[in-house]
């Protein structure tokens, strides 16, 4: 790959992992080459009117020069992403961004992944394993269909605990239950890494707090530029303002102001819903027009 050539970010593989969870492999040779566990990219589907959203890098294939992105269809941009097909291109992929995870040999590491948080958790857990740690992974989701990457994680982890809200797979429990047991055991973990919905990371942090086990969380806030220029991603950590894009995305879970972060995450939820409804409305119109033409 020459540093001089613009990349087209072509989609090489597109797969629905469940009704609302998708996996894309995108040609992005430089991101692939430089990425390390814990880092993310900003992607956009339209350089004129699109928005830039952060997605964690789930995997990379160096032979193909691609990165794997796993995302949940929640807003307009993730909906548009899910509608792309193999051969289409993303408008932009900027990355890798953020500080990579500090991987070291600690002893025992528990990695908690909730929902699509399992995707970014997986390369981190693997790196901890490769660094010589005992790695226990807790995977959580609402139901069996929403558990992702289980086989991949089983291939390297020392122990895998699956939890679902409805008990359709593994234990019928929240991830905090096995986490509490592990952290209260005699042979405590040396580190917990939790990645998932904000509320899950908040409760994982509260769960480990009394046990004295350190916890790292990976935040996924609203971003615009991803390079430290706008400050839209700022969170309060230990009483100080931090930028998730350059200082993070990983922080000490015990220091994060979770409530402040959650209210900032909702800043645009009303407007976003309208945009999405509008898009779906247009889709229906387009479908009706197609139908009428037939």
């Amino acid at each position: 790959m020459s540093a001089m050539k613009q990349v087209d970010y072509k989609i090489l593989h597109h797969e629905a992992l469940s009704e609302n969870v998708f996996m894309l492999r995108v040609y992005a040779p430089e991101v692939c080459r430089f990425r390390r566990p814990g880092q993310f990219v900003l992607v956009s589907v339209d350089n004129d009117y699109g928005e830039r959203i952060p997605l964690t890098i789930a995997d990379a294939d160096e032979k193909e020069g691609s990165i794997t992105l796993i995302f949940q269809r929640v807003g307009l941009t993730t909906t548009l992403l899910s509608e792309l097909a193999v051969g289409d291109s993303l408008a932009s992929v900027l990355g890798p961004l953020g500080q990579p995870t500090k991987i070291e040999k600690l002893g025992k590491v528990v990695c908690v992944g909730g929902g699509i948080g399992v995707a970014p958790m997986q390369p981190i857990a693997k790196a901890f394993k490769e660094a010589g740690n005992e790695v226990i992974c807790i995977l959580g989701a609402r139901n069996r269909e929403l558990i992702i990457l289980e086989d991949k994680i089983r291939s390297f982890a020392d122990q895998v605990i699956v939890c679902t809200d409805d008990g359709s797979a593994g234990r019928k429990a929240l991830v905090t239950e096995p986490l509490k047991e592990l952290c209260e055991a005699e042979d405590k973990p040396n580190l917990v890494v939790a990645i998932g919905p904000t509320i899950m990371m908040k409760f994982c942090s509260e769960t480990v707090r009394p046990t004295g086990v350190p916890i790292i969380v990976s935040l996924n806030t609203i971003m615009v530029d991803g390079t430290g220029m706008c400050g839209g991603c700022r969170v309060t950590v230990g009483g100080e303002t931090k930028f998730v894009c350059v200082d993070g995305p990983e922080f000490d879970g015990l220091q994060v102001d979770w409530d402040g972060m959650m209210s900032r995450m909702k800043a645009y939820s009303g407007q976003e819903r309208k945009m999405l409804e509008n898009h779906q409305c247009n889709l229906e119109k387009a479908a009706a027009e197609l139908e009428a033409r037939k």
Binding site: V7, E51, R52, S92, V224, G226, T227, M229, D259
Partner: protein, 515 residues
């Protein structure tokens, strides 16, 4: 395009109609009459006659109209207005104006060409020295540079009556662009040497152009998906249309400059890897001032508090003003407080009006005299209905139970003793707190420097403020690495950045010649 329902308070609407009719038609007809009076030529006029030619105001959209659209406020001179304005120039042998220009444009000579109607000749002379005349004609602070030294302004005892050099520059540059016959500068035979330019703002683009002209292979790396840096994310459409920046970038492409978007140097390639493994012989760092300062007050992380960078990037680059079409959203604020008194604060305040805010307050610690913003920008903001709260400062941001902004508590100040900068420093008046009811706060108090290059470029020296240390020609502590623009200067202007880009390019060309 029609924007939000809100609207701006143009208290001076009546005056606007009667005395400030700035329509192009009216101003042009006045100019034509005067031009005819002069016999259709400015040749042989005596200095006293030149001084009697009225200074030509800039045609502009009326305040009550423009504050509801994103289109450019200033509409540009007509041919007659340009020739008439140029005829005011006394053609001083000493050319004081030129020494006020950071890139030393041959001002006297291009103004003379305009007076004679030789517009092509004029733009040719400008482009020898400046890559971005359409941009500089619009955003340079001429009133403190070339025009501040103009003999006409001095003779008339009003810098506002100096020859409108910026408007003339803009006129000929726009004329060339709209003719579709923009001349692509010639490029020397290939040297086979590669130069990486990091960032694509004014310093970088100028540097790229000059280095390319010397025959080197130039690649521009930009983190955003569009090129132009602050000219596309920061300066709003109504002051600097994006199409102008695009056309300047296009000229560089036609010269053979390569452009790479979505590339953040430091996280992928680093300065060292560009030099050591990617085959580049020199690197220019023009990454700008990329870390917004916040006030450090209570409530600053509430929903509805933005850095000006974020607000302007959402509004400009991401086109949030096209509601319903742009996927990037912006808070729907009815009442907005902007903190700061610079050009960026004015841009943010005026953007907020255009995005539908009913009330926009500009909260500034000192008085209008100390405001760093250009006079013109302050006046435009006031005309459009921005309300100035001077000698006031934000104390804390108030929020509701959902974490959203509901108010800004301010403290009143008075002027005390002059400080190190010679400005009288504001002193808070204890117990003078009051609350502005607002639903958004935009912090426009300046930028620090982005720490990424510092973290990822061992051996590159920075000062205490995080700016790269470079000599007057842009050379840094690493051989082959040059820097310019805001990353060296702190916050500066487009033209100063261009000047640095140009000097660094000369240094790079010399450095490569000796390799």
């Amino acid at each position: 395009m029609q924007l939000g329902e809100g609207g701006c308070r143009t208290g001076s609407a009546k005056i606007t109609m009667e005395h400030h009719d700035t329509s192009k038609e009216r101003l042009d007809s006045l100019a034509r009459a005067k031009w005819a009076e002069l016999g259709g030529s400015a040749e042989g006029l005596k200095p006293a006659e030149r001084l009697r030619i009225p200074s030509q105001p800039m045609p502009s959209q009326p305040a009550d109209v423009r504050c509801k659209n994103m289109s450019e406020v200033a509409l540009g001179y007509t041919e007659t207005m340009a020739r008439l304005e140029a005829a005011r120039c006394l053609q001083c042998p000493t050319q004081p104006c030129v020494s006020g220009c950071p890139v030393e444009l041959p001002i006297r000579d291009f103004v003379k060409a305009i007076a004679q109607g030789d517009f092509g000749g004029a733009i040719g002379m400008i482009k020898e020295k400046s890559l971005l005349p359409s941009v500089c004609g619009r955003v340079c602070p001429q009133e403190v540079q070339c025009q501040s030294l103009c003999t006409v302004g001095k003779a008339l005892k009003d810098v506002g009556k100096a020859v409108a050099i910026g408007r003339l520059e803009r006129f000929v540059a726009d004329l060339e662009r709209s003719s579709g016959k923009v001349e692509v500068p010639s490029v020397a035979a290939s040297t086979g040497k590669r130069v990486a330019i990091v960032g694509s703002g004014p310093a970088s683009l100028t540097c790229a152009s000059d280095v390319r002209r010397a025959g080197h292979d130039v690649t521009v790396f930009e983190a955003f998906h569009k090129f132009g840096g602050v000219m596309v994310y920061g300066i709003p459409e109504f002051r600097l249309p994006k199409a102008i920046v695009e056309s300047e970038v296009d000229t560089l492409r036609r010269m053979g400059v390569k452009f790479r978007s979505n590339m953040l140097i430091g996280r992928s390639y680093t300065v060292h890897s560009l030099l050591e493994t990617e085959g580049y012989s020199a690197v220019f760092l023009g990454t700008g001032a990329g870390l917004p300062h916040f006030m450090g007050i209570e409530g600053e992380n509430l929903v509805g508090v933005f850095s000006a960078n974020e607000y302007l990037t959402r509004a400009n680059l991401m086109r949030a003003y096209e509601r319903g079409r742009a996927a990037t959203l912006i808070v729907e604020a009815r009442r907005v407080a902007v903190l700061g008194g610079g050009n960026v604060a004015m841009d943010a305040a005026r953007s907020a009006l255009r995005l539908g805010a009913e009330e926009v307050y500009l909260v500034y610690r000192r008085t209008e005299v100390e405001m760093p913003a250009r006079r013109e920008e302050v006046e435009h903001a006031r005309e459009e209905g921005v309300q100035f709260h001077l000698l006031r400062n934000a104390k804390r941001v108030l929020g509701n139970e959902r974490g959203q902004v509901i108010g800004l508590e301010c403290l009143k100040y008075e002027l005390g003793e002059p400080d190190a900068s010679g400005r009288r420093s504001p002193v808070p008046i204890q117990g003078s707190e009051y609350v502005l009811d607002v639903d958004a706060v935009i912090v426009a108090i300046g930028n620090g420097s982005n720490p990424l290059l510092q973290q990822t470029t061992p051996g590159l020296e920075f000062n205490k403020r995080g700016n790269i240390i470079a000599d007057e020609r842009g050379a840094t502590s690493i051989p082959g690495v040059f820097a310019g623009g805001d990353i060296v200067l702190g916050a500066a202007t487009v033209i100063l950045a261009m000047g640095q880009g140009r000097r660094a390019a000369a240094a790079i060309n010399e450095y490569l010649a000796e390799l």
